[in-house]
Subunit: 605 residues, 2 copies
């Protein structure tokens, strides 16, 4: 059976930023919510109580830093271990073009075995050959290499001659910032704004090539902020100041400062750190609240990556670019107990954030958060109890740094059972027919979570698994805004609110309008790879004269996609459709194909 091309769905989130931006009218978070105060105290409190209980009760898993040097792969899809990364580095360093000068490593990760090999692999079988896919940069050339760890050889080395460059390394960013910070013009601009050079923090908002002068070189834009009196330097831009840095030549190729007249916004009230909140908010404190599981959680994580819970089983791993990858998601049949394939692979493939301001210092802000910075590379440690509930299991990421050596991204993913007091299913009967029915089942799900901190924004990714077979992906937005300085302190001073590229959110600060577009790679395998995509449109059907008192009604029309192009869909609120991935070769007892579905929803935030 032919494997169909993965079905790619794009979910678009229109983040209308005004909501985050009611300036002084915004309702700040009450101290009661802070981890430092309640939650931590509460953890100790409850841990001591748990300890006091019967030995059958497991300890809460507080994740201690692990030593990963002993890690070995157990599953064909397990990411490269530390030792494997070191080995790849050694193999590369003996690869002629890379000795004596070792290249910059922009990507080094498992080259996953062919799908058919993964699908035929059973626990206990030897692993398919372990291979690495490497993207390395040397003398301005990007090499795409295949490394066979068993043979100890580079089996392929293709040089990319097309335009574009690989993902940025942390070193690229550091270099760009060093070059920028040591640039004399920057100091002058800082002093002109009443800042000392040490008050200045810079970021690299956007790589990419804008106009002929930037073509053919690895350039990145650098912009700066005042960190005076706040960790939230994002709110204190040196507006109008932009540097274009050539990362390879380590020089500033362009410097503009058109914002000399625009004051740096005040630091007052911008420090969000809980420990620095001086006056308590006028709000009733919330008592400690937590999840209680006297017998501990119900899920297991085998060999570090295979998660088993209720009727679900899937492979979970951290990825430097995609952040979190779910593979081989299987649901056991509720009657036979046989695991049935649902999804071969799912991850967020890109996160595109274009800002809506044509201004010279803003037009280029169109982030590719995954492709430029990496969702895994920017996923910092999760904070126990505040980022993830009690009894969470924490997973590290093992990634490769720019020099080819491995590093650990600790506590980057958490897995936990989610219980919100919600109902999974219920039914009551009104007494009229004499049935006394009060059936209700609480809802418990399993969540795999990570949070990527791509500069000012934090993206919280949840993959939630329901016992009814639903996989529910949520992306929540948090963190700080990327704002624009303005001479205006109040709306009344502005010639026109509409002239600005966004609302005035506080004195001298404009929140520039922007979108967050998130794309997903979803390779569904319903019962196996022989899948078909079906679009079911609900269309208006007119009744025949005399057929019915009804004039019209909705009818379901099935359209089977013959090409991937047929499967391109556009959600329409007023022309509802239902989208199915079915397996035509597997039928139910009444003869229907097994299926997975997606449908428009508008639900809980």
């Amino acid at each position: 059976m032919e494997t169909p091309p993965p079905l790619r769905l794009t979910f678009i989130f229109f983040i209308i930023i005004f909501l985050f931006l009611c300036s002084r009218y915004s309702f700040k978070l009450p101290p009661a919510f802070s981890g430092e105060s309640q939650a931590t105290a509460w953890l100790h409190n409850s841990m001591s109580r748990l300890r006091a209980r019967s030995g059958s009760v497991p300890e809460i898993q507080i994740h201690e830093p692990r030593n990963h040097m002993e890690d070995v792969p157990h599953h064909p899809l397990d990411p490269l271990t530390m030792q494997e990364i070191y080995r790849v580095r050694t193999i590369l360093s003996t690869h002629p073009p890379f000795s004596p000068s070792f290249p910059a490593i922009h990507s080094l990760s498992l080259d996953e075995p062919r799908k058919d090999l993964v699908l035929s692999w059973k626990e206990g079988d030897p692993l398919p050959p372990r291979k690495a896919l490497v993207i390395a940069l040397l003398n301005g050339q990007s090499h795409v290499l295949s490394v066979d760890l068993d043979l100890g050889l580079v089996t392929s080395n293709k040089i990319n001659h097309r335009s574009g460059y690989p993902m940025l390394t942390m070193n690229d960013i550091s270099v760009a910032l060093e070059v920028a910070l040591s640039y004399k013009e920057l100091n002058r601009s800082a002093v002109k704004r009443g800042l000392s050079p040490s008050d200045v923090t810079c970021v690299t908002p956007s790589a990419g090539w804008f106009g002929p002068s930037e073509e053919g070189r690895r350039v990145i834009k650098v912009q700066c902020f005042s960190n005076q009196g706040t960790p939230n330097f994002y709110m204190r831009p040196l507006e109008g100041l932009t540097m274009t840095v050539d990362i390879d030549k380590k020089v500033v190729v362009k410097f503009t400062d058109t914002g000399g007249e625009i004051p740096v916004p005040k630091a007052t009230g911008t420090d969000y750190r809980f420990k620095n909140q001086k006056e308590p908010l006028k709000i009733k404190a919330i008592n400690p609240i937590s999840i209680e599981q006297p017998l501990g959680p119900s899920f297991t994580v085998e060999d570090g990556h295979v998660v088993k819970w209720a009727n679900w089983e899937f492979h979970l791993k951290a990825d430097q670019r995609a952040g979190m990858v779910i593979s081989r998601a299987m649901l056991s049949d509720s009657e036979t107990g046989v695991p049935r394939s649902v999804m071969y692979k799912g991850f967020s493939s890109e996160l595109f954030v274009p800002y809506m301001d044509p201004d010279e210092n803003w037009y280029f802000k169109s982030y590719m958060d995954a492709g430029e910075f990496g969702m895994g590379a920017t996923a910092m440690s999760l904070v126990p109890l505040n980022d993830c509930p009690r009894n969470s299991y924490y997973m590290d990421g093992i990634f490769a740094s720019w020099d080819g050596t491995p590093f650990v991204q600790p506590n980057m993913i958490c897995v936990f059972e989610r219980y919100a007091g919600d109902i999974s299913w219920r039914h009551s009967e009104i007494p009229v027919n004499g049935f006394d029915i009060r059936e209700a089942r609480p809802k418990v799900t399993l969540v795999a979570r990570m949070a990527a901190s791509v500069g000012n924004y934090d993206y919280i990714f949840d993959w939630e698994f329901q016992t009814d077979g639903l996989i529910h992906v949520t992306v929540a937005l948090s963190g700080m805004l990327m704002v624009k300085g303005t001479p205006h302190q109040t709306v009344d001073q502005m010639p026109s609110q509409e002239a600005a590229s966004g609302p005035l959110v506080s004195e001298n600060v404009i929140g520039v309008l922007h979108d967050h577009f998130i794309t997903f790679h979803l390779d569904m395998d319903i019962d196996d790879t022989n899948n078909t995509f079906v679009k079911v449109d609900l269309v208006k059907e007119r009744t025949l004269p005399g057929q019915s008192p009804r004039k019209s009604y909705l009818k379901a029309k099935r359209n089977i996609a013959k090409t991937e192009d047929d499967a391109r869909i556009q959600l329409k609120l007023y022309e509802p459709s239902e989208f199915q991935v079915i397996n035509p070769s597997r039928r139910s007892q009444v003869g229907k194909s097994s299926r997975v579905q997606d449908r428009p929803r508008r639900e809980r935030s």
Copy 2:
């Protein structure tokens, strides 16, 4: 200041029923989820532990039946008490047209004081005059009455001469069912299908007037099912059999049975009651899980109706027709602590469920669940721990029955603090700039919940209050399907799947396509009643030649509604808009109006 007309938003949920209907392939709920097994055991377990703790820890509020005879109103919006309902009945019975023959009471509830009186009322003030609004039916005429409880008088009695009839009473439904069940033809049809009359359960799917023969009389359709071997009679229709009953004349005015050849679907596997699940599902059991609040919940309910939590305060009451009504929702300013008005009143005004089948026995199925049956009248007791989490507060509904006497709808609303292990806000910094930031705040919200069991369907209404000022309304659908009998046992026997009005969901059962439309009445009062509705469209703006390397960008265009008609909105996925209710007379420190917003979302289920 003029009070603007309430803003009505309609949220449309396209429930594509296929998802609930994977026939034998559906994934049933694991026993581990059942209240009878785990949750209850777990409750005792945890209660004993709580009891063992310090006296400062409040008991879990297990709601004991309350005696409401002593209830007195404390707030202008408090519903009529039992004693007030009795008093209204007495006043009505002395009202000339109603003596000696007392009318049928179709609605009897508080006639809310004028908004300005409610807004000017302060705690401790005497209540505005208590009045009742009554809809009564006598000799085929519907009276709309105003009763003043202080004066002890009917102050107004208007007879409705337009078409239509008031909401059904439980008595109307019982009468219709008695008339139908004692109809000889029905017994013949039952026997013809191999059923004894006692196996037959009937329901009243739809009131309303379809065609001239039904005009001018109170008729209702009655359809029947076999209850043999299952409480889920909905799955065993006597397809093709429909009776039209005149409720007032107590006669069957029309009987049709065109379905003699359609078998009654089997009972096998339709009993959903947990205690009757014979073979356990092949699924790993889920350990007990619950919410733990060692200091108890953080909210209070004053005088039975005023809920106070964190920075929120609102009036909550049960309503026989609307189910649950939120009034006077106020959010205290985080800096001054002064409560600020957000919403005067919010409730679900109607729930419309049209089925998509022109067939003689289906064309009329277009339920008005609120207007015909009543969301409060059908809201049965919530099941502690399974419908609502631990530490929930339960509220009763006090309603009027058809004879004007009060009755209690116990435990029909629950209020609880919701914690799902989610994050309300977080930010981390990647190390590159030397900031070590790991800030995260867990998310805790307050929920008011009810579940209406309107025949086969259960609707779970959640009004969720967030500390950032967001009110989030969710309606979840549960319960059973209203299905159609068919001679076909498998898809292959069907001439065409598309010919049917829905998919074959099990042997001889078709799940008929239908929608659930839910409308809301939302009377927003942002900081007071002087509000304006603003629609902000994000429109494509082209740059001028040479203005920017960008060719176009999105710009926010504000449109202020001058009439209620201007405020009619249609959500468009590809022409994003933002909807604001603002108070132009209240400005923030930077001069922006205070506001509430609604926006398209596609989020957590």
